[in-house]
């Protein structure tokens, strides 16, 4: 069937902010969908609250709404835009839930909007486990024995009936949030009550545990006529019991026979038919008993997912693009395979390499939480690697994580000897290294398989790596001939790993390797295992005897763009966004763009974002390999965050031409001493600071600077290991721990400017000129990491004079540091005094937000500058123009994933994503960000207030206003005293230790709508922590800074006055974010 002519305008819903379980894979899928629908002539309307996405670029859709994904906001958009159809299966569970809610609210009927790509019933069957189980039984498929529970007692009863262990799965939650495995009644109580409170329908499934079975996923597509294909099978190395997002996964499945695999294929297609997936991509998960092949269906997702993004990158088959075309009427045989361009999309990709995905965790940022992996996803990102064997792909994937491992080696790994056995057996982020070490220590594969349930096939392959390690060590560098070195590289050993094994240096290994002619060859991801010629340049590097490379010389000069690697807290989609923009801008300028990245979730690793894509780790070795193959005119290292920046110096030493800011300039900005000297010379104030390598030195520095101090290790991103200390004691304990974080690096100590206003500035510089793109005022005061702080464009409380001074200072700094490209400066304003906190000579996390808020595509312009264009030629709008609107960015915190860790903002970044709100006033814009995160604002009920002494004076007006708005005020004794003194009546609640009913009881009873709790600057463990953690468990809004409380208060007041906030399309804003660069270029 050809495209549908009865629809013209399609509304696409995105997935909102990056959260654990729903990351930039939905930007990738949504962007593909918007593009292909527009190419087909449809008008596309998009709603997504996440500004750091390519999909919300004004060029991606016809009408772009950066608005909360709520029924209220989306209804308004529908009312204004009158789309004919709604495509909800590109935006993850968020979009599906929103579509269901719009349907239930009657909005879709009222405005005659047809849901395409899936129907609401199939969403319900896919997500409601009871309906799903019944559907599967209908077609004769086995599901795990289970029962639903709506109360804790029901859950206990069902578990008794099924027998422990049982799996708890809450209905309708993201990434299995609130789920887990309970081995006894006590564990059940904890997990089930969490699950019940997180489930929007207060429902959990209690299910027979099939821990230890193989976990297999099938990525399936179906069209409206019933054609069905399997794109890819994915096998989890970690068996059932670990969320697939937290598992090491492999494509294609390695341990299933054809008989087993084809049976799963039949089941998957039957499952889609039965659930009623009209068209599009779905993911079906199975458990396979390793001892008899018995199959149980676990779940299916009737939409594109993280796994489908992985499958797309693993095979080269663009699932989301195809799904969008299917939704508007095409059938699979009518869509052309992008890669071959001569065969149809209606086939099943065959791959001739192995793909391994490894998750990246951030437990170090959530101290106190359990690091055990469960059915509840905890990873914050992932890296994918391609190799000709599992062994090679695994080692490449591990070094792609950039967590200090060069592969599966033991270098630098500290093993916990007391818990060694336990850490081999149980799933944690580190298990793979423990398994490898156990093999080194002589454990047998059989034994490890027994205790870990990891399939012996994988263990044998890991054992082969360990045997190879031994062989390499035994031979030594002198004993390694060409064949040995080639064999080592074929097993994925990095030069650094080999150097470690033969007691040499990475550079030496590289030199020897090159001298012996052991060079990587370029291979192509082509969907068809070489059967047809590939028309796209999606590559990976590997080692083969015969050096048969598929590299083709380009006619145009090439630019290599190094992206950001796996998402982690502090380095996420924002940097990928910048790299994608650079690719677009440079392609327009006539360069052939070459992207290097290893993150399968991103737009940058879509094969048509750049002219060439290398799916490779971002280590020096792998990047140099690409550079040696491509011989680029320039390499961009300043857009992908800290990952490529760290390589700048070595690349330049190796003679690689860096584009833009030089490594010398990077060093000037990042070296504290040199930078301080520069600031001194320019007479720009900065908080007094010092450096210390020992606790004694630190104490000495504290004497000079005075407390409070902000302390941090050198060369980190996202405030890793950063803290504010108020006393000698705190400083001493910090120094003890700091040694763990980065040995051989000193610790920085800065005087902490308490209660100062913090600012982020994103600017462009070309070596002479500087253009300040955006000055962002933080809502939270200094001391809260800028990534976790809300901020506003334009500044809402600064004078024009101060803003001008900020611009001037930025200009001076840019010129002095010889920045060519982007820079970001963080400032603090205290008592009308401007301090420089730091300068980042690279793209910052706020670039996408700044670009959308100001309407200037900063990253694109940066790329043009790096390619030699002066700022004057870019056609940029005036820095001092008056924006017609306020744009607020707010951070999204993953607290609910990490029970046990303290819920408070601090100098170490812990947010996973961000949302943007656009409105005529600051409170409205801020209100939108709250809606975008919480989806609902507490319009009535009780507010519990407990603030530290320093905030007591300022809390009274806030509480007064809240009381005026009709909220009931509850407070702890101390806070209550202040409030009563101000004439505000409030109920005093007992502290947790003081008896019952205390504040925790009241939270549990559901009496409290939201909480204002500002923690004490130091050592506030105890009451506050328990309180905050319970609030998170219950999903109660919590504000932990006074400035945040004030902003929230304004937002609540705004919402109360208006019947709902108006929505804005980016294309309608007076400073509509358009790409001005090409007009005069």
């Amino acid at each position: 069937m050809p495209r549908r002519e009865d629809i013209n305008k399609v509304l696409v819903i995105g997935s909102g902010p990056i959260v654990i379980g729903q990351a930039c894979e939905f930007d990738y899928s949504g962007t593909q969908a918007c593009r292909v629908l527009r190419r087909e002539g449809y008008e596309v309307v998009l709603v997504n609250s996440n500004p750091a996405t390519i999909m919300t670029d004004p060029e991606t859709a016809d009408r772009t709404y950066v608005e909360p994904i709520t029924v209220d906001a989306v209804s308004k958009i529908i009312e204004r835009e009158r789309p004919d159809a709604l495509l909800p299966n590109m935006g993850g569970q968020t979009a599906l839930n929103c579509a269901v809610a719009l349907g239930e609210a009657g909005v879709l009927d009222r405005f005659d909007v047809e849901v395409i790509g899936c129907d609401l019933d199939s969403i319900r069957i896919g997500e409601d486990r009871e309906l799903f189980a019944a559907a599967m039984r209908d077609i004769g498929l086995e599901v795990a024995a289970s029962g639903f529970a709506h109360t804790l007692d029901e859950a206990l009863a069902t578990s008794e009936e099924l027998g422990y262990p049982v799996v708890i799965r809450p209905s309708f939650t993201l990434g299995g949030a609130g789920g887990g495995i309970a081995h006894n009644a006590n564990e059940l109580r904890v997990i089930a009550s969490q699950g019940l409170s997180l489930s929007p329908t207060t429902e959990v499934l209690v299910e027979q545990s099939i821990e230890g079975w193989k976990e297999i996923e099938m990525e399936v597509m179906r069209d409206a006529t019933g054609n069905g294909i399997v794109i890819c099978s994915i096998e989890n190395v970690d068996p059932m019991g670990v969320h697939t997002g937290d598992s090491i996964t492999v494509a294609p499945a390695q341990t299933l026979s054809d008989m087993e695999l084809q049976r799963l294929r039949d089941y998957s297609l039957a499952c889609l038919e039965r659930v009623g997936v009209a068209t599009g991509g779905s993911n079906v998960q199975f458990a396979v008993n390793p001892s008899d092949g018995r199959v149980i269906v676990i779940e299916m997702n009737p939409r594109v997912s993280r796994s489908s993004a992985l499958a797309s990158k693993a095979t080269g088959f663009p699932i989301a693009k195809a799904a969008a075309l299917l939704a508007v009427g095409y059938t699979l045989d009518e869509i052309t395979n992008d890669i071959t361009r001569v065969t149809p999309a209606c086939f099943e990709p065959s791959i001739d390499y192995c793909v391994v995905k490894v998750p990246r965790f951030a437990f170090e940022k959530f101290k106190g939480t359990s690091e055990e992996l469960t059915t509840r996803m905890k990873s914050v990102g992932e890296a994918m690697a391609i190799g000709r064997t599992f062994e090679e792909a695994l080692q490449k994937a591990l070094r792609s994580l950039e967590d200090g491992h060069d592969g599966l080696s033991d270098e630098g790994q500290l093993f916990d000897e007391d818990r060694f056995d336990e850490l081999v057996a149980g799933p944690t982020a580190e298990r793979i290294y423990y398994v490898a070490e156990a093999l080194r220590r002589g454990w047998t594969v059989e034994h490890i398989a027994r205790v870990s349930s990891i399939d012996p096939w994988y263990l044998h392959r890991i054992a082969d790596i360990i045997t190879a390690e031994r062989t390499i060590s035994r031979l030594g560098l002198a004993g390694m001939d060409r064949r040995c070195l080639l064999a080592a590289k074929q097993m994925g050993f990095s030069d650094a790993q080999i150097a470690h094994l033969v007691h040499s240096k990475e550079d030496v290994i590289r030199a020897v390797r090159e001298a012996l002619g052991v060079l990587p060859v370029v291979k192509t991801v082509d969907t068809c295992a070489g059967e047809f010629a590939a028309q796209t340049s999606y590559h990976y590097l590997t080692y083969e005897d015969g050096n048969a490379s598929e590299h083709v010389e380009a006619g145009k000069p090439r630019v290599v763009i190094l992206s950001a690697g796996p998402n982690r807290i502090g380095q996420g989609i924002e940097f990928d966004y910048c790299c994608v923009h650079a690719a677009y801008a440079l392609r327009e300028m006539g360069y052939e763009t070459v992207m290097v990245n290893c993150n399968p979730e991103t737009v940058s690793t879509d094969y048509d974002t750049s002219d060439r894509l290398y799916f490779e780790p971002l280590t020096f070795e792998d990047v140099m390999n690409v550079i040696e193959v491509e011989q680029p005119a320039g390499v961009i290292v300043t857009l992908g965050g800290q990952t490529p920046i760290k390589l700048a110096h070595r690349l330049e030493e190796a003679g690689v031409p860096l584009m833009g800011t030089s490594s010398e300039a990077i060093d000037l900005a990042e070296d504290r001493d040199r930078f301080s000297a520069l600031l001194d010379r320019l007479a720009i104030p900065y908080p007094p600071s010092s450096v210390a390598s020992t606790p004694e030195e630190a104490r000495g520095a504290a004497r000079t600077l005075g407390y409070p101090l902000i302390v941090r290790p050198s060369y980190v991103l996202g405030g890793r290991g950063m803290a504010i200390v108020y006393s000698d004691e705190a400083l001493a304990s910090y120094m003890e721990e700091a040694a763990h974080i980065t040995p051989d690096h000193p610790v920085y100590l800065d005087a902490f400017l308490e209660d100062a206003i913090e600012l982020d500035v994103d600017a462009l510089a070309d070596g002479e000129d500087c253009y300040v793109g955006a000055v962002l005022e933080h809502i939270e005061e200094c001391g809260i990491h800028s990534g976790d702080s809300a901020c506003c464009y334009p500044p809402f409380s600064l004078s024009d004079v101060m803003v001008e001074r900020i611009r001037q200072t930025t200009r001076e700094l840019a010129r002095s540091c010889e920045i060519r490209g982007l820079l970001n400066v963080q400032y603090a304003v205290k008592d009308e005094q401007l301090y420089v906190i730091e300068l980042n000579p690279r793209a910052s996390r706020t670039v996408p937000f700044s670009s959308k808020a100001s309407g200037v595509a900063l990253a694109k312009h940066a790329a043009r500058i790096m390619a030699g264009k002066p700022i004057g030629s870019l056609g940029l709008p005036s820095e001092t123009r008056e924006p017609s609107h306020f744009a607020v960015k707010e951070a999204v915190m993953p607290w609910a994933r990490f029970p046990g860790s303290d819920v408070r903002l601090g100098p170490e970044m812990r947010s996973t994503g961000e949302v943007m709100g656009i409105a005529a006033t600051f409170p409205e814009a801020y209100a939108k960000t709250r809606q975008a995160i919480d989806y609902e604002m507490p319009a009535e009920g009780s507010v519990f207030i407990s603030v530290r002494d320093a905030d007591k004076r300022s809390i009274a007006p806030v509480a007064f206003a809240l009381a005026q708005m009709g909220y009931r005020i509850m407070a702890t004794k101390g806070t209550a005293k202040t409030l009563r003194a101000a004439g505000i009546s409030c109920e005093v609640l007992m502290r947790i230790g003081e008896g019952h009913p205390n504040v925790l009881d009241r939270i549990t009873e559901g009496d409290i709508s939201f909480i204002i709790n500002t923690p004490h600057g130091h050592g506030s463990r105890g009451d506050g922590e328990a309180l905050r953690s319970e609030a998170v468990n219950r999903g109660i809004s919590l504000v932990s800074t006074l400035s945040g409380a004030t902003a929230l208060l304004q937002a609540l007041a705004t919402l109360r006055e208006s019947a709902g906030l108006p929505v804005y399309a980016l294309q309608d804003l007076s400073s509509a974010p358009t790409d001005h660069g090409t007009s005069r270029a």
């Binding site: 006529t225 064997t389 096939w457």
Partner: protein, 442 residues
């Protein structure tokens, strides 16, 4: 297996192609030498089914998926009693497999069946060479490791078309395969009689026998050179022409039998069987550049307009245009043949030609990758055939409905009016979704 992980030294091996390409590796099967035609197969699993498929007689098979042998070997996967291929080329062989059904390792299996195999070569580079040059003569040797000498001997070796490989793999004796008891019971329960199929075994895969049995047929497998008179004397409800190796033009005895049998009883052919049946109707045969070998070939069923993902293994195919002129009234008023048969897919029409020998023949299936014919149906006699492998093994189960169609054809033929020479062609129009085994069970 990576040499650094292998404790003992392994014998080196050399692969040589007639174009002079040489690739070094290690032996991972029997020692010795093998000369044959090198082809590649893109199935990611199913290596044991592939090496035991008699259609590979005379060939050296390259598996494009790099890691082979992961789940060992099992009697259940056997497609014949042994192996018929000449040699095997893999990138990385698994010597310690893991699977609950595994009865041993794949390299041990290859040694036991005397298959020469080489690992450690860049199979992707080899595949691209075959894709660009076409299937070539080649050799694997663990004896002659001198590239010049081995290439020279490859060039001197005979072409695959020079030999009738069917004679090597076809059984000497007739043998019976009983119908699946449950399936038979089901048939009898609805008042349908047992069906007897005589199968020309030109190297028939066990999967085909199994599927015929599961469809409720008792099968008598006969040698490839059994005269038609003998077959017809067995009073079959239908005759099946199996897959088999090599050039169909070498298999003159079976081709003659097809001519004699067509029109007398229902006929179904697969792969080589498809070629023999179409030759009987007057079709010419062509050799494809590098054939279709894999489990992901998309085929459009022009009767149902559904796509089947199919398993394929052939180097030869019929030329649809050569079967006769188009019948315009049954071909959307078109009179001119189009070589790329995807034209008919776009038009949504199953064109019909008038053949010299057996009346009208309809094109029913087309390969969407290259527009080659994949299936035909005779309209004036009870016969149909497909170029691909509905029994798969390895590969997807989408086309299993064809065995059901054969049963429907035989039933319709039995139940036809006296003296009628044809039955309604509707027997073949089965939706792929109903054909998938799982739905049949449910």
């Amino acid at each position: 297996m990576n040499p650094l992980a292998f404790e003992d030294a392994r014998p080196p091996a050399l692969l040589a192609l007639e174009d002079g390409t040489c690739l070094r590796g290690y032996a991972c099967g029997a020692l010795g030498e093998a000369f044959g035609e090198v082809v590649f197969n893109t199935s990611m699993v199913g290596y044991q089914e592939i090496v035991t498929d008699p259609s590979y007689a005379g060939q050296i098979v390259t598996l494009t998926y790099p890691q082979v042998g992961n789940y060992g070997v099992s009697e259940l996967a056997m497609q014949s009693a042994g192996t018929a291929l000449k040699g095997l080329v893999v990138r990385d062989m698994c010597h310690i497999p893991s699977h609950w059904q595994s009865a041993g390792s794949f390299p041990d299996f290859l040694r036991a069946h005397n298959v020469v195999a080489i690992e450690g070569v860049d199979t992707r580079a080899l595949t691209l060479r075959i894709r660009n040059t076409g299937a070539m003569r080649a050799a694997i040797s663990t004896v002659d490791l001198n590239p010049e000498s081995l290439v020279a001997r490859v060039i001197a070796s005979p072409a695959i078309s020079a030999h009738n490989y069917v004679a090597d793999v076809s059984p000497r004796q007739e043998r019976k395969v009983p119908a699946d008891a449950q399936a038979l019971e089901k048939r009898l329960a609805v008042g349908k009689p047992a069906l007897h199929v005589v199968a020309y075994d030109c190297g028939e895969k066990r999967g085909i026998e199994d599927e015929l049995a599961v469809a409720g047929c008792t099968v008598t497998c006969v040698p490839f050179d059994t005269p038609a008179s003998r077959v017809l004397s067995l009073a079959p409800d239908g005759v099946f022409f199996s897959n088999g190796p090599g050039d169909p033009q070498q298999v003159t005895q079976t081709a003659q039998a097809a001519k004699d049998i067509l029109g007398k009883v229902p006929v179904f052919g697969i792969c080589l069987g498809n070629q023999l049946v179409s030759m009987a109707a007057g079709a010419q045969i062509e050799k494809l550049p590098f054939g279709h070998h894999g489990g992901n070939e998309p085929v459009m069923n022009l009767l149902t307009h559904r796509v089947e993902v199919t398993a394929q293994n052939h180097n030869y195919g019929l030329v649809f245009e050569s079967m006769g002129p188009l019948v315009p009234e049954l071909s959307g008023a078109e009179t001119e043949h189009v070589h790329d048969l995807r034209h008919w897919v776009e038009r949504g029409i199953a064109p019909v030609v008038e053949t010299k020998n057996h009346g009208r023949v309809r094109l029913t299936h087309v390969n969407l990758n290259d527009g080659t014919p994949e299936g035909i149906q005779f309209l004036d006699i009870p016969a149909f055939s497909v170029q691909y492998h509905p029994e798969s093994r390895p590969g997807p189960h989408d086309s299993r409905y064809l065995f059901q169609a054969f049963v429907r054809l035989m039933d319709a033929w039995r139940e036809r009016d006296d003296g009628a020479s044809r039955v309604s062609p509707a027997y073949l129009s089965i939706d792929v979704r109903e054909g998938r085994p799982h739905h049949a069970e449910a």
